[in-house]
């Protein structure tokens, strides 16, 4: 506690998992941003004479079957994975929030139909739904992002709808209606700003789901295509060389785990820190 004038309340300590998570996420984000400048080699440069080399001073994570530096590839892959997580979540946020607001605000038949549609979407296992969307067209990173985004729309719709249903009952919305404000004004100026916190929490959860689902789809050959260095794709390619080069699979996998754990810790920490009930409960 700092000396001096008495503080009205003690400063809250940041939860440990928030700090750890933030540090990890920051590191991965920096790797994604600075990757090309930091990496010792271009991610797609062949070193045919150094094929399948074990980790050493030159190639920190070893090399793959074409002699490409695994460390540089993992660095470059962080960009793809983060992009996948954030872009796919953005897709589900944009569609999900709009649909959820509409369902919760207009009720009636729109609500009924939208929620049936969401039930339908949720009736498919996520991987299968993603595969179904990608099954018929040639794979590319953009389509995977879109597919992953679509898979997680229902979750966002449900959260948004339930928050909207609560907010619509509030007096300030009644007041806005009494003033004769338009539906658009009430939705975007009155409801949406108050609905953000739970939606953000849900979305932060979805980022890790999106990264994992995206990696799984890449692993199955339905995402980023060679010579891209998506982590899921790298692990998939490493399968044929497990005998000779374990490092090809292990390092991208470990970094992916670290990233996902970091984002989860950050999310949990944020929730603990922001949620007053948890704070006073002495968690």
């Amino acid at each position: 506690m700092p000396a001096g004038p008495p503080e009205p309340r003690p400063r809250r300590r940041l939860p440990g998992n928030l700090v750890t998570g933030a540090a990890i996420v920051l590191a991965v984000a920096l790797a994604a941003l600075l990757g090309p400048w930091v990496a010792p080699f271009p991610y797609d440069e062949f070193h045919i004479r150094d094929r399948l080399k074990a980790p050493d001073a030159v190639y920190w994570f070893g090399t793959d079957e074409y002699g490409r530096d695994v460390f540089s590839r993992v660095l470059a892959g962080s960009r793809i994975s983060l992009f996948m997580g954030v872009a796919a979540t953005a897709v589900s946020l944009v569609c999900g929030v709009a649909l959820g607001l509409a369902a919760g605000f207009f009720r009636g038949r729109i609500d009924e139909w939208l929620m049936r549609l969401m039930d339908l979407l949720m009736s498919f296992p996520p991987v299968i739904l993603g595969l179904l969307i990608l099954a018929v067209t040639p794979p590319s990173l953009w389509k995977t992002v879109l597919a992953v985004g679509i898979v997680y729309i229902p979750a966002i719709v449900r959260v948004t709808r339930s928050v909207t249903l609560e907010l619509v009952q509030e007096e300030f919305i009644l007041a806005a209606r009494a003033r004769g404000e338009s539906a658009g004004y009430i939705l975007f100026r009155e409801i949406l700003p108050n609905a953000w916190p739970p939606i953000i929490v849900e979305a932060s959860l979805r980022v890790t789901f999106a990264i994992l689902l995206g990696a799984a789809l890449s692993f199955l050959g339905m995402g980023a295509q060679p010579p891209s260095s998506d982590w899921g794709l790298m692990i998939s390619e490493a399968r044929s060389y497990l005998d000779q080069a374990w490092w090809m699979a292990v390092f991208p996998g470990l970094v992916m785990c670290l990233t996902v754990v970091g984002i989860n810790l950050l999310g949990d920490g944020l929730r603990e820190w922001l949620d007053p009930r948890l704070r006073h409960g002495g968690a």
Binding site: L120, S123, F124, P125, P126, V127, I128, L131, L132, L134, A135, V136, T208, L212, A215, A216, F219, L220, G221, M222, G232, I235, S236, A238, R239, L242, D243, W246, A249, V250, G253, M256, C257, V260, V261, N264
Partner: protein, 318 residues
């Protein structure tokens, strides 16, 4: 209750029908021509014409859909384009293998998950509790394909205890058959166990705080009886629902896990079909998986209603 079940079943039928329309629509939007896919790139126009007439590809779409759908209702999924075999038997075989895999994983998830949850609840905030929570954190944070690869590396390559994948029929020895099942089953278990153990832990903690547990303690019952006879029975209610939902998840997870371990089940078949763009096979496998997923979800809801007296009575009085 019966009415509710029937309504849910009707919804599932509707859902499967929608799915069948979607899958049929996919074959229509697909660039390229089915006859050309069958005959190869250098087919003559006459040959394509003949195949199209034979397969009825020139009929109106509604007629084509009706024919396809009525075949499926009779259990005839058509020919696989790549394997050039009827899909029905292939699918049944793969489904059988996956069912065994799923059942084994499910038993593991249920037993180990509940046990871990109870241990963590009893030893709350002790090292064991933290170990269990780290363990489950890893389980959900790491994609199943990486666990699969790690498993192969450790147990097949380095320790040499188990084969790295594939399948060997039970007829060729139980040991061989079982050894190839362990890897995929453990991988599936590990990714699903966190749900179960975390939920069991929290509901167990809640029950242990309740008055009847206090009363049982006051009566001087042995701790083991209190835990398993009194507390666990009530704490399991939410866990059971999650378990039933996990059956659906299992059938999503098998696509990846079976690919990693080259286990020739339903999941591998889906991945194969999509990889090779074998349309009839894609349609058949996705339809079957959707059906299983829906039925598992229905089972979850019914089980919950059957086990939870509050829901049961509410429905009876209304």
């Amino acid at each position: 209750m019966i009415l509710y079940t029937l309504r849910r079943l009707a919804l599932i039928v509707l859902l499967l029908w929608v799915m069948s329309v979607l899958l049929f629509a996919i074959t229509q939007v697909l660039p390229g021509n089915v006859a050309r896919m069958i005959l190869g790139q250098f087919a003559t126009a006459d040959a394509i014409e003949a195949v199209e007439t034979r397969l009825g590809l020139k009929d109106p779409l509604v007629v084509q859909y009706g024919r396809w759908f009525s075949h499926i209702l009779r259990g005839d999924f058509g020919q696989s384009l790549i394997m050039e075999r009827p899909i029905g038997p292939v699918l049944a075989e793969a489904l059988g293998r996956s069912a065994v895999l799923a059942a084994l994983s499910f038993v593991l998830v249920a037993s180990v998950g509940i046990l871990l949850g109870v241990i963590a609840a009893v030893r709350k905030n002790r090292p064991v509790d933290h170990a269990v929570s780290v363990f489950s954190y890893l389980g959900i944070s790491v994609p199943e394909f990486f666990w699969g690869i790690a498993f192969i590396l450790v147990f097949a390559r380095w320790l040499g205890w188990l084969p790295s994948g594939g399948y060997s029929p039970m007829g060729e020895g139980f040991g061989n058959w079982f050894a190839r099942l362990i890897g995929p089953a453990l991988t599936l278990t590990f990714t699903l166990i966190a749900h179960v153990s975390r939920l069991t832990r929290s509901s167990m903690l809640e029950t242990l705080r309740s008055r009847y547990v206090l009363a049982a303690r006051a009566k001087g019952l042995p701790e083991r009886v209190i835990l398993f006879r009194h507390a666990l029975r009530n704490a399991l209610l939410p866990t059971i629902t999650v378990l039933a939902i996990d059956v659906g998840w299992l059938f999503g997870g098998i696509v990846v896990v079976e690919t990693v371990f080259a286990f020739p089940g339903l999941g591998r078949l889906v991945a194969f079909a999509i990889e090779r763009r074998d349309l009839p096979l894609i349609q058949a496998t996705l339809l079957v998986i959707t059906a299983i997923y829906c039925l598992a979800n229905l089972a979850a809801d019914l089980l919950y209603a059957a086990l939870n007296p509050r829901i049961r009575y509410a429905r009876r009085t209304s």
